[in-house]
C-alpha cells in the first residue's frame, strides 16, 4: 500500500535535522515501548511483516507527525487488540479483564540474549532457479496494491538493472497477511537517478532497491 510510510521522493519535509550527541532513548518510555514491542512479538501472534503493516496502516496525519516510538506503541496497541490479547477497554481502564492467551510463550529475561542473538533470518531452502540474472534489464510492477508491499511507489513501473541476487527470502506481501511465507528470489535492482526522477534528478546518482521476484518482469 502506498500509505504515509511510502516516503521516497516526497517533497515538503524540510532539511534533515541532526541532534548532536543524541541519546539512545530520549525518555524512559521509549525504551519500555521498544521492549514491549519485542516481548509481545515473541508471543507469536504476528510476524515482522504484519507489525510493519500495522504501522503503515495508522492514520496518515498521525504517522507523519508522531515520534517513531509513538508509531511503534500505537501499532502495538492495535496488534494486541486485533489478536485478542489486550482490548481497548482494558487499556482505557488500565485493568485486566481477561487472562493472557499465550503466557507460556512469555519471553523471560534470561532468554533475551539468546532471542536477540538468533534474530529472525528470512532466507529459506527449496529454491528453484532464479528467473533473472545479474545484468538483466527489468521493469517493476505498477498499479494499486491494497495490502502490504515492499515495493516503494517511486520504483513502480520503472526500469532498472539486476545488480545482485540476495537470496531466497520470505515474501512480505504474503507473510504480512498470514497467507504463508511464499519465499521467492530477492534481487538488487539499480536505477539511474534520471530513470526515477527525470530532469529533476541530481547528476551522477543511482538508487538500488531490494526487489522480490514477483515485482519484476523482463524489460
Amino acid at each position: 500500500m502506498n500509505g504515509p510510510h511510502d516516503l521516497g521522493g516526497r517533497a515538503g519535509f524540510g532539511p534533515v535535522v541532526v541532534e548532536q550527541d543524541e541519546p539512545v532513548f530520549h525518555a524512559d518510555w521509549e525504551g519500555r515501548a521498544l521492549g514491549l514491542t519485542l516481548c509481545a512479538g515473541v508471543l507469536g501472534h504476528w510476524n515482522l511483516d504484519a507489525s510493519r503493516h500495522a504501522r503503515e496502516s495508522l492514520p496518515p496525519a498521525f504517522y507523519l507527525s508522531a515520534s517513531y516510538y509513538d508509531i511503534w506503541l500505537t501499532a502495538l496497541e492495535a496488534l494486541l487488540a486485533t489478536h485478542g490479547e489486550v482490548s481497548e477497554r482494558e487499556r482505557a481502564s488500565g485493568r485486566m479483564e481477561t487472562p493472557g492467551l499465550r503466557p507460556e510463550r512469555k519471553l523471560d529475561a534470561d532468554a533475551v540474549f539468546a532471542v536477540l542473538s538468533k534474530g529472525g533470518p528470512v532466507d529459506r531452502s527449496g529454491a528453484g532457479p532464479a528467473a533473472f540474472a545479474v545484468g538483466d534489464r527489468v521493469r517493476l510492477r505498477r498499479g494499486l496494491v491494497r495490502g502490504h508491499t515492499r515495493l516503494p511507489s517511486y520504483a513502480m513501473g520503472r526500469t532498472g538493472v539486476v545488480t545482485g541476487i540476495r537470496g531466497f527470502h520470505v515474501y512480505p506481501d504474503s507473510n504480512a497477511h498470514f497467507e504463508g511465507e511464499a519465499p521467492c528470489w530477492l534481487y538488487g535492482v539499480t536505477f539511474t537517478g534520471e530513470e526515477l526522477w527525470g530532469s529533476g534528478a541530481e547528476p551522477g546518482t543511482e538508487i538500488t532497491i531490494d526487489a522480490f521476484e514477483p515485482y519484476l518482469t523482463h524489460a
Binding site: 510510510h5 509481545a40 517511486y154 531490494d210
Partner: protein, 201 residues
Amino acid sequence: MHDHAHDNELSDAEARTRALETILVEKGLVDPAAIDAIIETYAEKVGPRTGAQVVARAWTDPDFASALREDATATIAGMGFFGRQAEHMEVVWNGEGVHNLVVCTLCSCYPWAVLGLPPVWYKSPPYRARAVSEPRAVLRDFGVELPEETRVRVWDSTAEVRYLVIPERPAGTEGLDEAALAALVTRESMIGTGLARDPDA
C-alpha cells in the same frame, strides 16, 4: 516549520506505555526484567562502536576485507556481531569517485546488531523522503560536499538485507592500530551521511 523529530515529547505516550506494560505483566505475557535486558542491550552493549570495529579491521586486514566482500553476514558474525536486524548483511565500499548512502524509505530498517538503534533523523520523513531523490542535497545537510564527478550510490533497504558502508580510510593514518582507527569511524560514516574523521581534526 519543521514538525518532526519530537522523540523527546512526554506526551500521553508515557502513560499509555505504562498502562500497556502493567496489563501485559498482569496477564503473564511480559516479564519487566526482559524489557530491562532489552534496554540494557541497546543502551550499553550494541552501538556504533560495534560497526566501527568492523570498519577498522576492513581497513587493516586485506583477508578480512575480501571475506567481507564474499559473505558479509558470516564475516561480521565471526567478530561476534550477529542477530536481530543483522541477519543478512551487505557491505558497500566508498572509494575513489564512489560514495554510498543507506536509507529505508518505507520504515526504519537499520543493522541493529552492528550499529545499534537508528538515530531519530534516520527514521524521520525528511531523510527517508529525500535520500533517494536528492542525496547530494541531503549530504549537504550533514556538511558533506561531494565533488561533482563522485558517483552517489543510494541503497534503499526495502527487504531484510541490511547495509553497512565502509568509509574511505583517512589519509595520514598509516601508523595507527585498529583501535585508534576505529575511533575515527563515526556512525554517520557507516550510514554514508558522513566521512571518517581526520586524525588531526
